[in-house]
């Protein structure tokens, strides 16, 4: 998938930076955990297009997992989960 230059996935966001959710990519069927629709669950937790999010923390080593603020809640995601979320960073 080619992205417009300004767009990125959530896992690439720097600590303290904010962004707006644009799109959630469903996980390919062969990587799905038995019957769990990860994209749907992310949306249920508030990661829906238009929502403001902020990167709070990155774990060490390797910047995994991530702590992300969405709405008034904070969720810990692994990097591959965050990579499903396309965002527009706010500068």
């Amino acid at each position: 998938m080619t992205l417009v230059p300004n767009l990125m996935t959530l896992d690439a966001l720097a600590v303290g930076q904010s962004g707006t959710v644009l799109h959630i990519t469903p996980l390919p069927a062969d990587q799905m955990e038995d019957g769990v629709d990860l994209a749907r669950r992310l949306m249920e937790l508030g990661f829906v297009p238009g929502e403001r999010i902020r990167m709070l923390k990155r774990g060490l080593p390797g910047g995994d997992p991530l702590a992300i603020r969405v709405g008034n809640a904070t969720f810990a995601l692994r990097r591959f989960e965050a990579a499903l979320i396309t965002i527009q960073p706010l500068t």
Binding site: Q31, E33, L45, G59, L60, P65
Partner: protein, 633 residues
Amino acid sequence: MGAVENITGAGLHKPTHQPQIALLGNPNCGKTALFNRLTGSRQKVANYAGVTIERKEGHFTSPAGKPVRVLDLPGAYSLSPTTPDEAITRDVVGGLRPGDPRPDAIICVVDATNLRLNLRLVLEVKRLGLPMLLSLNMTDVAKKRGMLIDTVKLSQELGMPVVETIAVQHDGEKALLAAIDAMLPLPQATPQPLSAIDSVSVEETQREVRRILAAVSNDAADSGNLTEKIDNVVLHPVFGPIILAVLMFLIFQAVFTWAATPMEMITGGVEQLGAILTANMPDGHLKSLLVEGVIGGVGSVLVFLPQILILFFFILSLEDCGYLPRAAFLLDRMMGGVGLSGRAFIPLLSSFACAIPGVMAARTIQNPRDRLVTIMIAPLMTCSARLPVYALIIAAFIPEQQVWGILSLQGLVLFTLYFAGIISAMAVAWVMKRSMGSKTKQALLLELPSYHWPHLRNLAVSLWERAKIFLTRVGTIILTLMIILWFLSTFPGPPDNAIHPPIYYSLAGILGRGLEVIFAPIGFNWQICIALVPGMAAREVAVGALGTVYALSQSGDALASTLEPLIAHSWSMATALSLLAWYVFAPQCLSTLSVVKRETGGWRYPLLMAGYMFALAYGASFITYRVALLLGA
């Protein structure tokens, strides 16, 4: 009671049906605290049929005098489940569980500080067409943060009554009780099938949530709150892991140092009781049964109550204040290295108290393979029942001295034993995950809730529950086993020309000497072998059993309190270390194995677990014993 109601109601109206209300909400919304407020002690905790998911039901009488039954459903983010917990919630509200009738009404409990997340579930459940009530919980915190919510408008928007509640405050449930009364008798509902929740897309529902929020609240800025400031330190890449390690270490130090005084008091009491009986009873079998069997055996287990309560105090406090998910965050990477999710941390930490709640808590892990591996390694976390065994041997063999001036050597050895359990658990997880060869990626998706002070009343209630469970075990299983063991250890009596203590010739002695053939290579004598057998029902019984065995091996008034110097004299250091290594793996806990059978639905995994743990225990003890002998211990 039901019969009386039917008679008085006959001819006037239909037999009264006690309305059943279900509490439903996201995890961390204060639902269970509210349930405790409503029902007080009038609750029944059991399991849902066929699964080991806790089913909490209670009843209360409304201010207008109407009896109401209330069910506390497992926390859920959605009715499209990703965990067995959420599946139960979906099935109960959808009326899909044969044993659990569909609730007559639903009280949706929401966290007022986080409506954006919580309201989505409310809109979803509303599509099922059941009578509903919204309990806006934690309104005190919301007000403190400057969040204003127009409840009248919210009620209009949602089309259901809305009340403010503060579950952690006295009378915080008052408005809810009044609203329940106003709802009764419940209107005739036409419930929709579960598929109704998908009549609107997730995105559309979220848009609706945002529209409602814009209309009813001022949406206070979320930056700069205290939780975030604490997280800046607690989740810090360097300080975070240090804080976690220090915290864990302090807990193990406290388990030893804080408990010392109450333990001495219990020992003193048990000794006095034994002395009184010894002085006032005629010699004979009954005196031996009471003094050596009951008081000697049960007393030596009872003494560990303070240590168990201190351990639970820390685990429950950390859980209550919201630290545990942070620890999972910090450890996710490390757990990921052996193929587990950070989510596995919470069940594994619970396993330090007891593997049974740990195995059950594993159901919050979405991935079935992750869940299975977590269940399989849970018993390697040193449970509180192993603590008595460790404590006894450490006290008898490890000198009481300071290391680097501040740390107690005994605490350090205990920490090492716990650490050995963790390391072997990680190794077993790694091997299991590799042999399963799964290609799917595991999601973490863990909420990091706001911090709050542990609620003392809830903490006290939970600790009391733990004490009750422990004392019940002592009074039932352990007492029974001690009596059986006394009989086995006393009969048949010794021959006239006996050269050994009487127990040597008893049934237990014969059994112990038989087992000694297997266990001699790892340094266990026949007395230890006898203790291992009742230890299968409950690990801490091994200590009580040693108490009984050694009391019977001695003359007359030797009591459990003297067990420590006794084993210090009769065991070599190598035997003591070998037994410690054995208990790191301790494959013998029948209750854990039976819970694993229920959770995994068959004999395959419990048998595999018993097998691999026995092999590890024997191997570790063998190496420990042989190495210790070589080093001259």
